[in-house]
């Protein structure tokens, strides 16, 4: 045998041994660690300050590491969380008392002064918080554990605001952090919540890691949504970013991850065939498709033309294009989200059927002069790219002159902020999706703000009547009163076509059956979840 042959044979043997040894090594280190939950969330975490942005993923990150003074349960009741509260007989003074055992992640005790600073930072950004501070005579720490809020006029929604579940939730932070400007990102991530943020392992757009807060003292009452006992049953939770949906499915099937928060609808059948996978919607409030018109410029500055446009749109077409399977969506006219305490279909009747002929007649009667309707069409976000196409087709059928402009989502986001006419880079209509939890009351539903150019959400309706409804809701003392105001407000908003709800759908979460305790909640919650 020649020397070169010996060398070749040795090389081949070494290669084969190396290959075999690769397979003898554990396939995936995760299998050795049963106390880590690996989840692919609906979007990557990049911004970690929950008061800086309204991004849902940042809000969810907030719930991992921060706690709130009050929580909301599945019956929309506000319950004590970090604090219990009392209201004076004249309904002007709220007193919040912190419960025992609350500590920040750095070991320091939670004080009332910390919470006052946190409320102030939150209120600088949040609409309901602003209303409270505008009506506050004093907000102060009257002892280490007592926060006192004195109002100029009674406000029935104070507990509701401090226990609100979605953007912006009033998360509590240590005073030194809460004193950061609300427009500047915090750089320290110290909360008092059930998980600690592992900043050293954070890679924006790649993964975020949380570990159990061993010092957290859970409440003793039953867990429900953001209230009650938050017991952590695992050591770590890793949020893994996986941009490709096919890869997510493959990783879940192979056990490399435990959970997908938002499973693509078209890939659900692949998972349904596997007995180890559970698929279910955990968000009882779902998400709504919303069409928004620009009130500043023709043709939608005229209510008759807005009405004709709404008449042309029907929810089923939008839901079929986006979701496909009717098992996962529902026709829903409730501006405050179906399944919420304020849900009603009043005013939405025309959205449940095709009315193209009626829309054509209404458009003719409105005096529409053929002004182009510029619709912003984001083509790079799967969940947002179907609505403009459907709308364009329906509006064209009704007789509108539609200019559908294809853009990437970030361009849409910056362009929709432009108040210029459509011919100068503005727009007439765009579509988005709201989580139901951000719609559930007149105070949190930003589509219903009527403060015009300087205070309303994109589209900028200037409608004092809307503000009167919101004000009345804020002052209302009983649930019945609130329901009545919300119903009247919705009827009015549909009449004026403040915006067009285009159906509600349920995002489907999927997880391996080794995971138990996956809770139903508008927010993905990792406490009380365990892994076999």
């Amino acid at each position: 045998m020649t020397r070169s042959r010996t060398v070749s044979r040795f090389a081949c043997t070494a290669f084969a041994v190396a290959l075999v040894s690769l397979y003898l090594l554990p396939l995936y280190s995760a299998f050795a660690d049963g106390k880590t939950i690996r989840a692919v969330m609906h979007s990557p975490l990049r911004i970690t300050d929950p008061i800086l942005t309204t991004a849902y993923i940042t809000r969810n990150h907030g719930y991992m590491i921060y706690d709130t003074l009050l929580g909301t349960d599945a019956h929309f009741q506000v319950r004590p969380q970090m604090a219990d509260w009392t209201l004076s007989d004249d309904k002007l003074t709220y007193t919040f008392t912190l419960r025992d055992g609350l500590r920040w992640h750095d070991g320091q005790p939670v004080t009332a002064a910390d919470c006052v600073a946190s409320i102030r930072r939150w209120a600088a950004k949040d609409g309901t918080g602003q209303l409270i501070l505008d009506n506050a005579e004093a907000l102060e720490a009257t002892s280490d554990r007592t926060i006192t809020l004195k109002l100029k006029t009674p406000l029935g929604f104070v507990p509701e605001a401090l226990g609100k579940i979605s953007s912006y939730p009033p998360f509590m932070m240590p005073k030194r952090i809460a004193e950061t400007s609300p427009n500047q990102a915090i750089t320290e991530h110290v909360g008092s919540g059930p998980f600690k943020f592992v900043a050293s392992e954070f890679q924006p757009g790649v993964r975020a890691v949380y570990e159990k807060n061993e010092n957290y003292v859970p409440r003793s009452d039953e867990a429900s949504w953001t209230s009650g006992a938050k017991r952590v049953e695992v050591d770590r939770v890793e949020w893994i970013v996986m941009p490709d949906p096919q890869t997510q499915i493959g990783a879940l099937l192979s056990g490399e991850i435990d959970m997908i928060e938002d499973t693509p609808f078209d890939l659900i059948p692949v998972l349904e065939r596997n007995r180890d996978i559970q698929i279910r919607s955990t968000d009882p409030l779902g998400s709504q498709i919303v069409g928004r018109m620009n009130f500043l410029h023709p043709p939608f500055n005229k209510v008759e033309i807005r009405r004709a446009a709404m008449l042309a749109l029907n929810q089923k077409d939008f839901l079929d294009a986006l979701v496909g399977n009717s098992k996962y969506y529902q026709l829903c006219g409730a501006m405050f989200a179906c399944n919420s305490a304020l849900a009603t279909d009043i005013g939405a009747e025309n959205l449940f059927s095709k009315n193209i002929e009626a829309a054509r007649k209404a458009l003719k009667a409105s005096g529409y002069d053929g002004t182009p309707v510029v619709i912003l069409h984001p083509t790079d976000v799967g969940i947002l790219k179907t609505h403009p196409v459907v709308a364009a087709q329906l509006l064209r059928q009704a007789g509108f002159n539609v200019d559908l402009q294809a853009l990437d989502w970030q361009t849409v986001v910056s362009r929709r902020a432009s108040q210029k006419p459509p011919s100068e880079g503005g727009w007439n209509m765009f579509f988005t999706i709201w989580a139901g939890s951000d719609l559930i009351t007149p105070l949190v539903n930003q589509n219903l703000i009527g403060r015009g150019r300087d205070g309303a959400w994109f589209g900028w309706p200037d409608d004092p009547r809307l503000e009167q409804f919101r004000h009345a809701y804020a002052l209302a003392a009983t649930a019945e009163e609130r329901k009545k105001i919300a119903t009247d407000m919705q009827a009015y908003a549909y009449d004026q076509v403040i915006y067009v709800p285009l159906g509600q759908f349920s995002r489907q979460s999927s997880w391996r059956k080794e995971l138990t305790g996956v809770a139903d909640s508008p927010i993905p919650l990792f406490w009380n979840m365990s892994k076999r």
């Binding site: 090594l25 991004a55 924006p204 993964r207 970030q410 150019r453 309303a456």
Partner: protein
Amino acid sequence: MALPYLIRRLLAVFPVMLFVVLFVFLLLRLAPGDPAAVLAGDSATPAQLEQVRQALGLDRSVLTQFGLWISQLAKGDLGVSLISGLPVARIIGQRLEPTLWLTVLTMLFSSAAAIPLGVIAAWKHNKPADRVITFATVLGFSVPFFVIGYVLMLVLAIGLGWLPVQGYRSPAAGLGGFLRHQILPVLTLSVPLIALIARITRASMLEVLGSDYVRTARAKGLRESVVLCRHALRTASLPILTVIGNGFALLIGGAIVTESIFNLPGIGRLTVDAVLARDYPVIQGIILLTSGFYVLLNLLVDLAYVLLDPRVRYE
């Protein structure tokens, strides 16, 4: 090799990179989009959006922003991400390792597979082996990265369960895990590169094998392997080396897709994310890094010519 030439080439790197960063800086500011909108979130009011814009310094003139960035750069500071608030150097540093390993392993594997294939195809010119290799290279070059990636994933990871579907393990955490996570992405990225290098090798070898000195070598009774590898391949290697150098550009493009499919937290994915979020400092940092890398790589290829071909001289 003339030292002045080397110094001249190294000094030329700086104006090239300066031009690139200036161009990219202006291009980014001209492109539509607003990082403040990303930061403020979907339900921010116009007033809140403006506050965020001011906090980020985006309300300043482009010239002022450029001046600030260049002065930071002069101090070796790439700035901070507008979105995450983390230092750009740290973000890029975290993402560099997976891409470096992916490109280096792909290049090594591709070269090791493609050069022998090209040599065999040229040696067996117009015979069945040549035809099979030529057909395979055409196929390999025509199939998109994502098709190759999904097929490999479906068969080897999901179907057979031999390899992990996704993810990255650092070699520091164990060589076995590292290699297992590299196999699918490297194979995916290698297919078109093998096709490219094999075709160039074949063409270059065919030209050389017809030369008089090869005929002379054969007439002297040298073994065919010696004629092919020691005499012909060395002369044919200049175009191959050029293609390998340029192949890194192909790899960076392919890495964006491959990193997404196999969930590798590399520079390719970071670039896409930063562009979509209009995270200007991160995009500028990446461009600076990659342009510097390309310029240096081209320099290395030029220098390697001298080693491989004694006829090449730089004055």
